[in-house]
Symmetry: C2
Subunit: 149 residues, 2 copies
């Protein structure tokens, strides 16, 4: 069953530009074209893209996805490394959760500095931010695993 890029995009809940991006990044192999140079996709590409999107929905990096797909493309390979990769990724997520929870505690503590005053001059939040947060302030979380934004 052949589809143009827009159909594939709708089928997999992906932006057209993102599909082209994945092709440029080597995640999706190039496909056949019409005489008018339109891409034509079949089931294999649709499955592959679904795999990628599922991984992305699990917050895996494109590099991690590349590793997983290497195993998917090599059915006789030992898949121990898939487990390892997933364990590592789970570890990243758990660490990020812990960091965000600490951050949330700090923010809620900071929020409590605001009393009844309505002037910026007396704002407990601004003052606290000026002097450094009392609990672990100034320590920026690991760059490898970004934060809330």
């Amino acid at each position: 069953m052949s589809m143009k890029i827009g159909e594939l995009a709708r089928l997999t809940g992906t932006q057209v530009e993102t599909i082209r991006y994945y092709e440029r990044e080597g995640l999706l192999p190039e496909t056949t074209r019409t005489e008018g140079n339109f891409r034509i996709y079949g089931n294999a590409h649709a499955e592959r893209l679904s795999f990628i999107r599922n991984c992305r929905s699990l917050d895996m990096t494109l590099d991690e996805i590349r590793v997983l797909m290497r195993f998917r493309d090599a059915p006789d390979e030992n898949c121990e490394k898939v487990n390892k990769l997933l364990d590592s990724h789970i570890g990243h997520v758990a660490k990020r959760i812990a960091e965000l929870m600490r951050l949330e505690d700090q923010l809620r503590e900071l929020r409590r500095q605001c009393g009844a005053s309505r002037l910026a001059r007396d704002c407990g939040i601004l003052n606290e931010l000026s002097q450094g947060c009392s609990d672990g302030g100034g320590k920026i979380a690991s760059k490898h695993v970004p934060g809330a934004h």
Copy 2:
């Protein structure tokens, strides 16, 4: 007390390049220079930079920090909006935590698909990723608040 950029960097735990970046981004006002064109900073800049770094350690965006600093620079302004901003930011963080926890659950569930087999062909993880995750798969989290990476 006057400092060159390296001293300011050490004092505030910031990279020199980041200080220059903040100046370009308008977060730090430009400062005086030596004849040799070296920047010279005083206490006001050090305090301002500390404020910025404290906010960054709380994962606030530069835009959020800009808003906070507007109030810091206007002591007679009503600081209700500071509260609002912080509440909003806390909300983002809480939402991100919830998303990551759901993600962690999904990942652990996926991890359990891997039985004793050692071949990629039979890998429960890869197969599950190919067919879509059974619980809320394919839904990519909000872009505004990024995830584990």
